[in-house]
């Protein structure tokens, strides 16, 4: 039998365009697997020569899925460029806005993209393995709840940001508009509802996944695990924070190996260019690049919900803290290497984000009209880091003497996960494909390894991607395509 090549292209139910290629050896078992992003249209170039203060309104257009993350990273980069600290109310309001984005994004990913695999079944007919099939299983009522709370999160973002998609509120030194008392009351009401919805989501996860042994086994199975370093942002008490704090890195045993802020990211993260993809491959500089391998000797690290839970000592809100403890209890202690545990971690974060919005909406300072400190210096250089729903996001800008953008470097969440995604796909493919036998259900189970990261390829290439989804191709060793699943 000849060496085969399997490509998954387009991959559906993800944000962006990418493809998976799987190479089979002569026995029909998996030799190698790659996750490729075949497009790039360079946002860094558009931004050159634009005034620095325009960046928070340009960069959200990198991606319509997580524009708020780019807006906030960009705004924070401007704070540093102009050397201005926002007033406390502005910082709290930014965090509230940002946590609402997390609620919105995590609900969308879990219910529309991830849950169909578990609720409807990993190898069910693709015709029903989608959000509509999901609604059929969990009931229209839950479907309406999903829609309602996603809309609440959008509403909160639009109140502060002008609109949820491509917000406009961020300015160096603060925000453009304060929160009115009647708006605050509305936010509080919606946040309360989001907290109970998040608890309900965890309950659904519990019933659908955790109470079924086959799924728990699947989540914990060796072919869905890679043992890497983890990166995520923590507050001063070492708890998960999405908006601000130190970036912390732990090793595959969970021991802290680095903690940094702002410009220091350059000392810790290296970026590799691979000839077969337009997406760069970041790695931990101090550990070094050893290829697409896991373990303590390799600089491959992971970001996103599971990584954030792995690096932090806990959650900053009470209900999420309970769920955090349960998470590690069930999955056998920190750190958890099971890629599919990202889905559960995402729901723990959903609860935290909802609780945090509620907390902030009750904060006395939140309606303070003083939401801006005017910058008085010229912009020079700045780094803005936030935890995007899909992981740590870095925006780094340098301006010329006129305050025009001279250079831009973006390291996005999916970029950080690039190496780990390749490894996860390979491992899943090796565990699942035997003797060249490949069917649609099997390929979906390989895609699940990929989907757990919630990859956003629009962001990854800083591009304006063309076609959305992805494909799987199978090739033999002579380069002949044996099979192509294009959806």
């Amino acid at each position: 039998m000849a060496l085969k090549r399997v490509t998954i292209d387009p991959i559906t139910r993800l944000e962006g365009h990418g493809k998976i290629e799987i190479f089979l050896n002569e026995d029909g078992n998996v030799e190698n697997a790659y996750f490729q992003v075949p497009e790039l249209r360079g946002f860094e170039k558009f931004c050159q020569g634009r005034p620095a203060e325009e960046m928070p309104r340009i960069t959200p257009r990198i991606c319509g899925v997580c524009p708020e993350a780019h807006h906030m990273a960009s705004t924070k980069a401007l704070d540093q460029m102009y050397g201005v600290e926002p007033p406390r109310a502005a910082q709290k309001l930014r965090e509230l806005f940002y946590c609402a984005h997390m609620i919105h994004s995590h609900i969308a990913h879990f219910y529309a993209l991830a849950a169909p695999d578990f609720v409807v079944g990993p190898s069910a007919d693709p015709k029903v393995r989608n959000i509509l099939g999901l609604v059929e299983k969990v009931g229209v009522e839950t479907g309406q709840e999903v829609i309602k709370h996603r809309a609440y999160a959008q509403r909160i973002q639009a109140m502060i940001g002008g609109k949820a998609t491509h917000p406009v509120c961020g300015l160096p030194g603060g925000l453009s508009k304060a929160l009115k008392e009647e708006e605050r009351e509305e936010v509080e009401k919606m946040a309360r509802s989001c907290v109970s919805f998040a608890r309900k989501s965890l309950k659904i996860f519990n019933e659908v996944v955790l109470e079924k042994k086959e799924y728990v086994d699947l989540v914990r199975s060796d072919f869905y695990a890679v043992s890497t370093y983890y990166m995520g942002m923590v507050d001063e008490q070492d708890r998960v924070n999405f908006y601000d704090g130190d970036v912390k890195v732990v090793d595959p045993q969970g021991k802290e190996v680095a903690r940094f802020r702002g410009l220091d990211y350059l000392e810790h993260i290296g970026e590799r260019v691979e000839p077969w993809t337009y997406l760069k491959v970041p790695f931990l500089k101090k550990i070094g690049w050893k290829g697409f391998v896991d373990g303590p000797g390799s600089g491959v690290y992971r970001v996103a919900p599971l990584a954030r839970l792995n690096v932090a000592s806990g959650m900053a809100t009470p209900l999420a803290q309970q769920e955090y403890e349960r998470f590690f209890e069930v999955l056998g202690g920190k750190p958890v290497h099971a890629t599919l545990a990202n889905h559960w971690a995402r729901l723990v974060e959903l609860l935290y984000a909802a609780e945090r919005v509620l907390e902030l909406s009750r904060d006395e300072e939140i309606t303070d009209p003083k939401i801006r400190n005017l910058p008085t210096k010229k912009p020079v250089e700045g780094v803005g880091i936030v935890e995007a729903p899909r992981g740590t996001l870095f925006h780094h800008y340098r301006a010329d003497v006129d305050g025009m953008i001279q250079s831009v470097n973006l390291i996005v969440a999916t970029g950080n996960n690039h190496a780990a995604i390749c490894m996860s796909i390979k491992k899943a493919a090796q565990g699942l494909i035997r003797n060249g036998e490949v069917d649609d259900g099997l390929l979906n189970m390989i895609e699940m390894a990929f989907r757990a990261y919630d990859p956003c390829l629009g962001c990854a290439t800083h591009s304006l991607p063309g076609q959305m989804p992805m494909e799987v191709k199978i090739y033999d060793h002579r380069g002949e395509k044996l099979r192509c699943l294009k959806r």
Partner: protein
């Protein structure tokens, strides 16, 4: 309302951020109603299986920036009875058109290591290549206009798309003018309304994402910009952000 036959819909994506097609999913209060009345056949971002054409309605998101996209666009035109430029990128190039005034080679060199494989072209709206039946402007499209438009398709009526400038809506909101009171240079006077003067209502000037209003007078706005001390380069940059490929904004970009 009783729908005899649900209109079939296809959602296409060219070079874009996907923000406009996500606005379809973000129509939360109406989402389930819309799924009742439209047969969404082709929407790769949201569902995996694709129903075949022809379709009654095609929503095209994104600017055209490669030859491959021209081919897909022409196929979409052939497959759809009504073809809609869905959002600013599809209407006139949108934000990606910022690159159009830099030599293409320089843009390519900046991002691609191997230029032999690159065939990018300037970012155009889709009507550069095919006939377009309707334009939904905005970055992203306005949800109100989108709902209005869907109603129009169902009832066979013409949706109300605003011809006037953002200033009209801004005044209706009783906003203080950022331009006059704070001296912040605003594109509102020449930009199509329909967004509800969203940015000025949040304390930010209009960036012109919805392109030129009917009877826009860019030359006059240029004079005012100059009075407020903007340099020629500042003014050009403002007009060449989203809709620099339209004749009206190009007049603003070069007039002096």
């Amino acid at each position: 309302m009783k729908i005899e036959k649900k209109p079939s819909v296809a959602v296409y994506k060219l070079s874009s951020c996907a923000g406009c097609q996500l606005e379809l999913l973000n129509l939360e209060p109406y989402l389930l109603d819309i799924l009742e009345v439209l047969d969404i056949r082709y929407f790769p971002m949201a569902k995996r299986e694709a129903g075949s054409g022809p379709y009654d309605l095609g929503l095209v998101e994104g600017a055209v920036t490669s030859g491959e996209e021209i081919i897909r666009l022409k196929k979409a035109r052939a497959d759809c009875r009504l073809l809609v430029a869905f959002g600013s990128c599809a209407c006139y190039g949108g934000l990606p058109s910022m690159k159009n005034w830099v030599a293409e080679r320089l843009v390519e060199e900046r991002v691609y290591p191997n230029l032999a494989a690159v065939h990018s072209i300037k970012a155009y709206g889709i009507d550069e290549y095919v006939k377009v039946d309707a334009y939904l402007k905005g970055c992203p499209v306005s949800r109100d206009e989108l709902v209005d438009f869907i109603k129009g398709v169902l009832l066979g009526t013409k949706p109300y798309l605003r011809p006037h400038s953002v200033c009209v809506e801004c005044k209706l909101h009783e906003n203080l003018c950022l331009f006059v009171t704070e001296g912040q240079p605003c594109m509102g006077p020449v930009t199509t309304a329909g967004c509800g003067a969203l940015c000025p209502s949040h304390g930010r000037v209009c960036e012109g994402c919805r392109g030129p209003a009917n009877d826009a007078n860019p030359e006059s706005l240029v004079e005012t910009f100059e009075e407020y001390g903007l340099t020629r380069a500042d003014i050009t940059r403002r007009f060449r952000k989203y809709a620099g490929m339209t004749p009206e904004f190009e007049r603003g970009a070069v007039s002096s």
